[in-house]
Structure formats: C-alpha cells, structure tokens
C-alpha cells in the first residue's frame, strides 16, 4: 500500500510539474461552462442559500451541498474526454 500511495504522489507531482494538471483544469472549466453545468449549479446554490439564509451561509455548507450534485451533473462526454486525456498522459509518461 505504501508503494501505491508513493506511486500516486509521484504521478500527481508529475502532473503538476508538466503543467498538465492546470491544463486539464482549464479544459474542464471551459467545458462545464459551455454545457451549462455552472449555471445549473449556481441555481442550486441559490436554492441552498435561500434555504439557509443569506447571512448564515458558509463555504462548507456550499461545498457539502454542491459537490455531490456537481459530480453527478457533469455530462458524459466531458467526463469521457477528460478521462481520455488523463489516460493518454499516463501512458505517455509511463512508457518513458
């Protein structure tokens, strides 16, 4: 297990070092805005905020409310594309 976590850390470091993580994040954000995911989540946020009251909302509340929904709402096409790119990156650097 220690080897597994070690490997993860190495891969993460590699992602960050190569700048691939930033690129992927940017890609994901653009795609999500494009497909309306952001607007949907914002609407959900509004509901949450109204429910809790404008003054009493915390970031933690929002994260716990929004994250599951956000994960579920990501379109399949976006998810596939992202996974494909991660795989390609790993394959490229595994063969080195």
């Amino acid at each position: 297990m220690s080897k597994d976590s070690q490997m993860r850390a190495a891969i993460n470091q590699k992602l960050i070092e190569m700048g691939e993580r930033e690129r992927l994040k940017e890609l994901l954000r653009a795609k999500l805005v494009e497909c309306g995911w952001k607007d949907q989540l914002k609407a959900h946020c509004k509901d949450v905020i109204r429910e809790k009251g404008l003054e009493h909302v915390t970031v933690e509340d929002l994260v716990t409310e929004v994250t599951p929904k956000g994960r579920a709402l990501v379109p399949d096409s976006v998810k596939k594309e992202l996974l494909q790119r991660i795989r390609a990156f790993l394959a490229q650097h595994a063969t080195l």
Binding site: R8, K25, R29, K46, L62, I86, L90, L96
Partner: protein
C-alpha cells in the same frame, strides 16, 4: 521514475483505471470548490442576487416577441406620422421636418435669416419706400451670394431648386413684380439658363458681379467661386455675362413699358442716368431722342453694376406706390422746366411727357 511507472502500464489495468478516476474526481471537485468560493464571495459581497428581481417586475419587463411591436411591446412607428403645429405660421409640419421648417420660418438659422428678411421685405413692400426696398434687396442679394460662395455647389443647387420655401418666396416676389411688363422678358431669357432659372434677374446680376458664374457643361450650374477663380478663364466669364446679361439689353428698347419704367426711376438714379445721357449726347435735340434712349441703354450695358440695379428695382416698385409719387413729382418738375423750349419739344416727341419730364428737369438742374 521508470521503475514506478512500469507497473502502471503493466497488467494491472484496474489499478490504472482507479487512478485515472481519482484524478478526474479530484479535478471535478476542484471545479466545484472553485464555484463554491465564487458563489460564497458573491453572497458575502452582496452581488449574488443582483440579477434577479421579484416576479412582478420580471413579468412587466418581459421581452415581447410579437410582430409589429418592439421588444418593449410598443408600436415602433407611432411617431412616424406625427405632425407638429408651427407656432409661427400655424401649419402642420411632419415631425421630422419640423426643425428645418422652424429654422426657415422663424429665420434664425444660418441660411434662413435671408429668406425671412426677404419675406418680411416683400410683406412690407407696399408700405416701404422704394429705396428702402432696394437696399434690402441689395443686402439680401449680397448675403445670398456671399453664402453661396462659401457653400459647395450641391448645397447651392439644393437651395435654388429644391427648397420649396425659397421658390415660393421668389414666386411671391415675382407676383409683385408681375405688374411690370419688363420682368416677363427677363424671365424667359433666363429660362435658357438651367440651374438658375429660379433666380430673379436681380439675383443673377448680383451673382455675376461677385462670382465667377461660368456655367459648367456637365452640371449646368454656375461656378460660385470668386471672379478670379483659376478654373475658368476670363473668356468664359465674359461669354457667360454676354449670354446672361446680353439678351436683356436688346430687350429693353423693344418693350415700351421698360422705357416707361425707366422714367419712373428714383431721383438719384434718374439724375445719374440723365447725366450719362448728357455726357453721351451733349446737345439733346428733339430728333435724336430715340438715339439718346439707345445711348442710355448703351450706358446701361457698359455699367451694369450701377445702372441695371436701380432700373430693376424700380420695376418692382412700379406696381406699388411709385406711380402716384412720381406723377406728383413730375408735375412739379415740369412746372420748373417748362421754360426750356427744347425740353418741351423733346417731351412732345416722346409722347410720354410725364416720364421724360423728370429726366429732362434733372438735366436742367444739372445745367444750372
């Protein structure tokens, strides 16, 4: 590194897939977290709910999508046929034309004070003395030509031909001129000139004294530059003046009325004319009265600036109050000049005693 990576690409595909999914969910959570921060910040800064209002106003300002109305549900051409009443002339003017009309009607614009002045002048024509009227005309004409010089050709033609106000006022003026027969031949003569057919003879004359005036072959408009404009030669300018003013000179002796009107000239113009007459033919004999007349005309053509204008100005006044005044004046003057034998014979020869009398009397005055 290779050592670590090799097992990944090996047979353990499920491990690799799990890793890929982990990275993916990490990214999605990142995005969610970013959104949460964004929303939270917006809430705390107070601009999160700015873009939405209550339902009522949402309904009220809903975008209308129907044929014939704009997005606010208003009929978009409702102002199209609106008319405004001019406070000055009480006419109904289309709203889009109201400002230009007002400018002309009130006479406060750049170009229009002249027109307004002209209208005022023509309205007060009857009450004004002849010289006043003439001064006014002079002023207006100078105004006009000055403005025209500064303006482009297009503007000028626009003013001359297309402006209804202008042609109207001009017509009005001609109508008052109409009593004098001499204006008619002028008009016909100038009808040959195309773009300036709307101009009165006075205007053509003053124009030619201040401007180049050469008629373009293409546009048929007159050149509005100064008399020394380099585009045209002196030859051309002379030709135009002969063309425009030349025909009017022979027209003068033909029409008796013109000569008659010459007799009605204002005093100083008359003295000038008679002086010329005197100079041209020092001893006026009864026999060459016709020739003296011709010489007068000759003098006219030689000094178009000074001479033509008064003779025309009197035409306009001839129909007005000129007749009585001159009649009275002539009777008193004939009394003064009755001692001269030649004068009497001249006047009888001419068969227009009233008319010739003042001129002769002034000649007589000159002698004294």
């Amino acid at each position: 590194m290779k050592m670590e990576d090799m097992p990944l690409s090996g047979p353990d595909n499920t491990k690799l897939e799990a890793l890929v999914h982990d990275i993916y969910s990490e990214l999605v959570e990142d995005a969610c977290l970013g959104l949460c921060f964004e929303v939270h910040r917006a809430v705390k800064q107070g601009y999160f709910f700015l873009d939405e209002t209550d339902q009522e106003s949402m309904k009220e300002f809903e975008i209308v999508d129907q044929p014939g109305v704009d997005i606010f549900g208003q009929v978009y051409n409702q102002w199209k046929n609106k008319e405004c009443e001019c406070p000055n002339c009480k006419r109904l003017i289309a709203a889009s034309r109201f400002a230009p009309h007002l400018e002309k009607c009130l006479g406060m614009g750049r170009n229009s004070s002249r027109i307004a002045n002209r209208r005022l002048a023509s309205n007060n024509n009857m009450s004004k003395s002849e010289s006043d009227q003439e001064d006014n005309d002079d002023l207006n004409d100078n105004d006009w030509s000055y403005g025209a010089e500064k303006k482009a050709k297009k503007r000028k033609s626009d003013k001359n031909q297309n402006s209804p106000r202008r042609s109207k006022s001009l017509k009005h003026k001609n109508g008052e001129l109409g009593s004098s027969v001499s204006s008619e031949p002028y008009k016909y003569n100038f009808n040959t000139g195309i773009s300036y057919e709307t101009l009165g003879p006075d205007e053509v004359r003053s124009l030619l004294t201040t401007q180049c005036g050469v008629i373009s072959e293409h546009t048929k408009k007159m050149c509005t530059r100064s008399q020394r404009c380099p585009q045209h030669t002196d030859e051309q300018r002379r030709a135009v003046r002969v063309f425009l003013l030349g025909p009017s000179a022979p027209a003068l002796p033909d029409a008796d009325a013109v000569v008659e009107n010459d007799g009605f000239d204002i005093p100083d113009g008359q003295t000038l004319m008679s002086r010329l007459q005197w100079e041209d033919s020092p001893d006026i004999s009864p026999t060459d009265s016709a020739s003296s007349k011709a010489s007068t005309n000759h003098a006219d053509s030689r000094r178009p600036k000074k001479k033509k204008r008064p003779s025309l100005g009197l035409n306009s006044a001839g129909g007005g109050g000129g007749g009585g005044g001159v009649g009275g004046g002539s009777s008193s003057l004939t009394g003064g000049s009755s001692s001269s034998q030649s004068n009497i014979s001249l006047s009888t020869k001419k068969k227009r005693p009233k008319l010739s009398a003042p001129s002769i009397s002034s000649i007589y005055d000159e002698l004294n």
